[in-house]
Symmetry: C2
Subunit: 525 residues, 2 copies
């Protein structure tokens, strides 16, 4: 996500050209240690509508954007109706537990057999500290706990000719930082950077590198010869047991394996620790929203089949329990995935269809695998965190809850793009089989032992989602994008795709609040 | 801790000389991704004593070592008595809550006024994944949760002429890694490291640096010109809000400030995330031990005044409720801090006194400050983690529990050595005043607002501790150290000081298990 956003920023020229100005500001100490500010938002107040009179809004889609819009509009006394195709709130915010039953677009039905207390977040799984999603957790009374997005004991597995097998993240870092520090200290010491560095700079840089890389002195050639940071094969303990350090890999092998390519994930603005999750499952957020919005204001199992502007408002047709119903309101906020909204008949014009079609849906997949013991804790001392691999599993999440419990549920893969499509094309049983075969390459036979349940999610084949998220294929100044930021007639649009936080609930929430603000400003103008 | 242990390892020649061999092993891919092994331990079994008959053991000190020894001996049917000077178990494992009352060696009494649910761990506060302490949490049923030992949103404050004020950890990393990557890419590109690197190495290294430092292309001079990783002053959000990135500081300022000197803390074998803590306070561990050992086997308020070997066992005199009592047993395990044991009359000889005196006690201090709102979360979006400074506060812990609650308790300082002594010399009120004045330099006026309670711990002035921990001043092969690893007569010794995990509960536990093993082997020989 970060990568995409940064690329986007670079593409539109924001990051590159400003460098010199930013340097100058930095040198003056003008940057602030305070948190970034999310634009202020004042919810509608009932008193605002005193003159305008009560207004009704129909909201298409009960995902995070739709729920946020309903919740905020209700604060101002609006009459709201949320139409949701599924039988639950949340959209892509979806937590799978024992008994969860879903039939996908290919007609395949899965029923999750997870044990009591075990779950998998099939959609979003983590909350960055800066995201407004946390403010809603606080406001809605959803308790949070740490999400383990980083773990020195988790593994990296980048197989290849270099001969390095699965390694703990801590060793990958110790070796990479050790050799990088050795190299830069040598180059600095031999004067290769004298054009770039003053004598003071050089001294400070080498002091940093000695600490950062755990390397030797100048007399020792600044050599990296291993570090306790890489870990131990025998743990330090009582008496004379000083431990046995893990042996470092050779520099060429470390570089060839590309182990360091993963490190920057942990620096990302929206991925750096600390991260959080709702206690008991991410869907605590939509269920709390839905409770606040009220059951009478949400129609589940309501599949939109036509959405129209009328001369006085909007009209939406939907199918529910085999019948087609019509709902009319003063306004609509369309929070459906753009690729789905584009396919449903409407009368807002070809421009709107073109805008909705301009977003490119991406796929993502996850599998939850429940085991009868927490072997990653017991055998590997991995308490949470992410094992990353170049196998098409990509990311394996060690659970952030239930430590020391009898059972545990790994996310056996969280992958995107073609890797997700590869798994998505398989049956659930085939997905598990493939995921287990690959996991055994990393963790050994234990990966296939004691499996008590599994459930796999292929977002592309999910009805009402048809993808994991959808990025704009244009600049954010292109009419294909901007057209959806304002009302077309009496219809507004919202969703994470209409934000710079695509694939995050923060994007859905901020976009929904923007739509509510515009709608309310118009009503009270 | 890591630093000290590593230095120790280097001193005894373990780390340096082995480099070449380790390299070779690494290149062969022989290192394992499995967790380090703590030496196997088989608790005594009741059947073991069938021939030897029941044996009694008096344990001096009810800290973690003493409790572990008692707990494991009881598994084998030993009769144990723990003598503990305080009115609670745990020793330095000490959690302060509302109502906690302690009088220190200077006669100063503090009564903690923390609100219900608020607490501070005055002693150990975090558990590494590799430590056997976690196994005891599991065995004893002590629930754990994440300890936030790292946070990209926490601050670094290293004031100086460089002009950089408090910065978020994420910016310190982005700027430091950016410039370091730029420098090494330039040196590599200009051939300054051609002796060290093959063409393949160079290509792989530059690919890594571009990712690691978020730097430009060769054509852009590999320049670091800022990164979204440093954070935003305006958060990316709805519509066209792409966010405003924090401006980078200049390279010379970043190097001069030494911001990167802190990074290696997070790589330490026993400090790298993930870390854990018992839910509700670290003292859940000693209380669980004490419950398992049984109230009838622990005498609180029992201050040892003499410890002796006798011809048939041991004899220990202690004062309790104003009277001197004598207890005799077959064996003793002395788990007192060595600097205290050395001062109490005994008959084990001058060699033992010299051994006990050879450990150097270190000081550490902590202050807990309760606020009526969690301003670090609300104003700074800092959810847990450590703010580090060169002010003598050193480390400020943002709490790892109670997120989004009404109140919160910061550890306003966790410092050691002379910084701890500086605060220790003050009254509790003066400590708070000084800590708040310094905290304001970093966080502004909010640091002094809404304070509802505080409690400060100076370990040097705590009766029955007289220090935070004590390192051996000798090599672990010196008789001053080794003499305490075996019995002297019928007396054994245990404690974290007799381990390579000083200041950690893991050290106390493994040392206690080693003593139990030796004692039991002797009894059953």
């Amino acid at each position: 996500m970060t990568q995409s956003r940064r690329n986007f920023l670079r593409n539109v020229g924001l990051a590159g050209g400003a460098g010199v100005m930013l340097h100058s500001m930095g040198a003056l100490g003008l940057t602030s240690a305070h948190a970034a500010e999310t634009p202020a938002f004042t919810p509608p107040q009932p008193s605002d509508l005193a003159r305008a009179g009560s207004k009704s809004v129909v909201i298409l889609g009960g995902g995070i954007a739709g729920l946020t819009a309903a919740y905020e509009l209700l604060k101002g006394g609006y009459k709201v109706t949320v139409l949701e195709g599924r039988d639950r709130p949340g959209g892509r915010n979806f937590t799978v537990r024992g008994g969860t039953r879903v039939t996908d677009l290919k007609g395949v039905t899965q029923v999750a057999g997870f044990s009591r207390g075990q779950y998998m977040n099939a959609g979003p799984g983590r909350l960055p500290q800066s995201h407004i999603t946390l403010d809603y957790c606080k406001e809605l009374g959803v308790p949070i706990e740490a999400f383990t997005n980083q773990n020195a004991n988790a593994l990296l597995y980048y197989p290849g000719d270099h001969g390095i097998g699965a390694v703990q993240m801590r060793q990958a870092k110790a070796d990479t930082y050790g050799y990088v520090s050795e190299l830069l200290a040598k180059a600095t010491d031999k004067g290769a950077l004298d054009e770039e560095l003053t004598a003071d700079d050089k001294e400070a840089l080498i002091a940093f590198l000695r600490s950062f890389g755990d390397i030797g002195t100048k007399e020792e050639g600044y050599a990296y010869t291993g570090s306790s940071r890489a870990g131990y094969t025998v743990e330090p303990g009582a008496g004379q047991e000083s431990g046995t350090e893990v042996a470092p890999h050779a520099m060429s092998a470390v570089l060839a394996a590309g182990l360091g390519q993963y490190f920057s994930f942990e620096f990302g603005y929206d991925q750096a620790m600390m991260m959080y999750q709702p206690v008991g499952g991410m869907d605590a957020i939509p269920y709390a929203f839905a409770k606040a919005v009220g059951a009478k204001n949400i129609r589940y199992g309501a599949e939109v089949v036509e959405w129209k502007n009328t001369s006085t408002g909007v009209s939406v047709a939907y199918k529910a329990r085999g019948r087609t119903e019509l709902i009319e309101a003063d306004f609509a906020i369309n929070c459906m995935p753009p690729q789905i909204a584009a396919k449903i008949p409407h009368n807002l014009g070809d421009d709107i269809t073109a805008s909705l079609k301009s977003f490119g849906p991406s796929n993502a997949g996850k599998i939850g695998i429940e085991y009868d013991r927490r072997w990653w804790e017991e055998d590997f001392r991995i308490y949470g965190g992410i094992t990353n691999t170049r196998l098409d599993l990509r990311n394996m999440w060690h659970p952030s809850y239930g430590f020391h419990g009898d059972k545990g549920t790994m996310i056996g893969y969280y992958n995107t793009g073609s890797a997700a499509d590869t798994y998505g094309a398989l049956t659930p049983a085939q997905r598990l089989s493939r995921a287990v075969d690959m996991g055994k390459q990393i963790f050994g036979d234990v990966y296939g032992e004691g499996i008590t349940a599994s459930y796999s999610q292929d977002w592309k084949s999910q009805k009402f989602s048809e993808g994991a998220w959808a990025y704009s294929t244009t600049a954010d100044t292109d009419p294909l994008y901007t057209r959806l930021l304002d009302a077309t007639g009496n219809t507004y649009f919202a969703g994470d795709h209409l934000s710079h936080a695509v694939a995050w609930q923060h994007g859905a929430i901020t976009a929904a609040r923007a739509a509510v603000e515009k709608l309310h400003a118009r009503v009270t103008a």
